[in-house]
Amino acid sequence: MERAVLHAVPLGQMEVFQALQRLHMTIFSQSVSPCGKFLAAGNNYGQIAIFSLSAALSSEAKEESKKPMVTFQAHDGPVYSMVSTDRHLLSAGDGEVKAWLWAEILKKGCKELWRRQPPYRTSLEVPEINALLLVPKENSLILAGGDCQLHSMDLETGTFMRALRGHTDYIHCLALRERSPEVLSGGEDGAVRLWDLRTAKEVQTIEVYKHEECSRPHNGRWIGCLATDSDWMVCGGGPALTLWHLRSSTPTTVFPMRAPQKHVTFYQDLILSAGQGRCVNQWQLSGELKAQVPGSSPGLLSLSLNQQPAAPECKVLTAAGNSCRVDVFTNLGYRAFSLSF
């Protein structure tokens, strides 16, 4: 009922169309600015909206400060993934990655800095880019998506250095192992592959759906989300959300969650996951469900933890998915408010 109060009853043709657009909006990706005060969110219409977290969190926050300070058309198709370097916002969706200067975005001059397209083999349908991953050590960006490959791009020169081939279906997600330059990728084919960036070789493959503890054939094989912390990896999707020990390639904990999960992340000694359903789930490593915090969207696709040291007052968890709203959790216990497109 909150929305019925917020918005006047749509009457005219344009108003109805806008109301329908908002109703069918999906926010696929989020990224926090390097200063930690702003949040970018990308939706299925290819728009990127910039919200000011500091304004929305301040004590004199008004209804307008929960609206985007600027919205711009970034891509033709959905914006599936976004990351922020210390100067740029990189967004990707329909086959291309585009770079935007944070400084210029905040001044509302939204002109793309550059765009790059990985070398694709097929031409009938442009493959999408589902995941972006920054590798700070070698200042490169890894793109993965529809063409079943991981493309590594040098951020300095903008050239694509190598392609890692191995997946048999499109790639959903990427994760970086901080210590060794290794990258994990999970895809529609149900496999999590571990790549060594130095040799550009696949070093390990875990076919999750083949393990009976976590396989759920009626949901499919696909791996929708991945997160890693030293020797540990958590992944979910069609198969149940499972904690794996990487060196031994064995599942240690299967989390009892029926709905497919679309995003997972380690946070302190907890695992946060979200997916089909309204809630952000908090798990103990032992597999106990610590808490389920309901948000405002019927399904969640991305979680973003703002841990920028530059803005400690904006340290929040944001969750977005199948609605035009980005839920903001100031602590992990409850939803404080929602930012809205």
Partner: protein, 694 residues
Amino acid sequence: MSSESSKKRKPKVIRSDGAPSEGKRNRSETEQEGKYYSEEAEVDLRDPGRDYELYKYTCQELQRLMAEIQDLKSRGGKDAAVEIEERRIRSCVHFMTLKKLNRLAHIRLKKGRDQTHEAKQKVDAYHLQLQNLLYEVMHLQKEITKCLEFKSKHEEIDLVSLEEFYKEAPPDISKAEVTMGDPHQQTLARLDWELEQRKRLAEKYRESLSNKEKILKEIEVKKEYLSSLQPRLNSIMQASLPVQEYLFMPFDQAHKQYETARHLPPPLYVLFVQATAYGQACAHMKSSQPPRQDKTLSVAIEGSVDEAKALFKPPEDSQDDESDSDAEEEQTTKRRRPTLGVQLDDKRKEMLKRHPLSVMLDLKCKDDSVLHLTFYYLMNLNIMTVKAKVTTATELITPISAGDLLSPDSVLSCLYPGDHGKKTPNPANQYQFDKVGILTLRDYVLDLGHPYLWVQKLGGLHFPKEQPQHTVIADHSLSASHMETTMKLLKTRVQSRLALHKQFASLEHGIVPVTSDCQYLFPAKVVSRLVKWVTIAHEDYMELHFTKDIVETGLAGDTNLYYMALVERGTAKLQAAVVLNPGYSSIPPIFQLCLNWKGEKTNNNDDNIRAMESEVNVCYKELCGPRPSHQLLTNQLQRLCVLLDVYLETESHDDSVEGPKEFPQEKMCLRLFRGPSRMKPFKYNHPQGFFSHR
């Protein structure tokens, strides 16, 4: 000389001095009588200066003698007595002299006084004379100024200028040689000339008057002639009527209508005039012929003219009555409770009374269906209402679900966004309603017709918001500015409703009537079938569990029409709740889906159901087909069938279940899933016939 005079007087003094003191007065009086005149005369002879010298001398002498006497007395010798005696005699003489001098002085004084008096009288006489003269002078001066100030009448007369006078006046009047130098003569001459001119003008005026008289007489004659012509013309008109009818030239009819229109209340009159004008303009635009019988917009007036006339005569009565009875009512409410209901009822009826005349507008669409609009004017509420009826050229088989589509109640609903026609547009009415206990106009709308905002605008009534007491007058320009758009909207409305009507007829039989020009939007083979199309109530729609989003967004108002469609393929049943906005087809129907297949799937738990909804709701523009896109609903339903096909065929096969897939993949798809939310390829690419992701 002085010595001489003193010598002369001396004996006299001695004489008088020698007289005894008793008889002194008598004697002196007589003596003096006798001597008075002589002394008077003497005065003139004597010199006052010399007398003064004498006086001084005598006084000195007296002093000296007194001093000698004193001296002698103080010495006191024997012989002194003689001496003193001698001296005393001498002093007596001196006293005499003094006395004489004194008298003389008195006489002189008297004389001086007389002289002064005389002189003064003379001066007074002169002064008086002077005063008289001054007065006379003043009087004369006054007379002179009076003369100077005298104004002559001729100065008020506007004379022709000097140059003009000399130019125009004949020389016997102007007499230039005399008048040039003499302004007086000049003025006289000019006045003469003026008089002459005025005489001439008076003559002219008299002539004109007689002329006018003559013309008036002529006019009179001509008028008589014309009035005798009228009955003859009438009879000719009467005779020509059948000819007019025969030739489709309804001049007379139009004339009669205009006659009737004069009795229309202002808003209806504005509507009548503007609608007639618009109708004629349209007819002229389409064909250069004069307005024919089959024009698209025809206007007529209905109702009794006599009643309207009767209404005009006592215009104040009803209102006075009302206010009187209002005051009365408040007093009698407590006493006459049982009759109160009847009273209120009457009062309500009075308030909602319509003007006896109404304007009929027939709007003809291209397919020969006609929208009949009847406009009424509620006199006491100062609003206009409309009743609508649609007739079609061919008899329609009315499908059950299309019941509301052409009903008079809803056919015009929301012609402009938000214009439901259920509330009174005149803010002042609310106060009137409060008085007689009407909660809202909604309950009376069926009977009275709908007071849509556009109706008020066509009638030139503009009601400001939040200013209930503003006086509202019918305005032609307002009506004119809304006439064209409203007529166009009305036409599209009727056409879209008729189109929907036709679509519903086949939808009810499970046929999705895709027209040939929209065929390219869909693949040739569509397996899913529409099995049910029913209308549902607004309340039922609100109850449905999968329509919550639409309800919360405020898109499910009670003015919309609601339908439920059921699409089936095999064991899969797709329910679609449809909101049909009265503004169809500019505002698309909105679908909410619920799939029953391997559990219940709605937009809440299945991203692809959500994507299907957005395919029909958001991407509706691709489905509009050729303008004016009346086929939108059909296309959306057909699209829904295609989407269900894609959804079912691309559902990943569960390895653990034995047996073949229920729905083998027949559609050509590039990829089955794409993106983080694993979208299915719902987009149909026309000539190639494959499905891809949006």
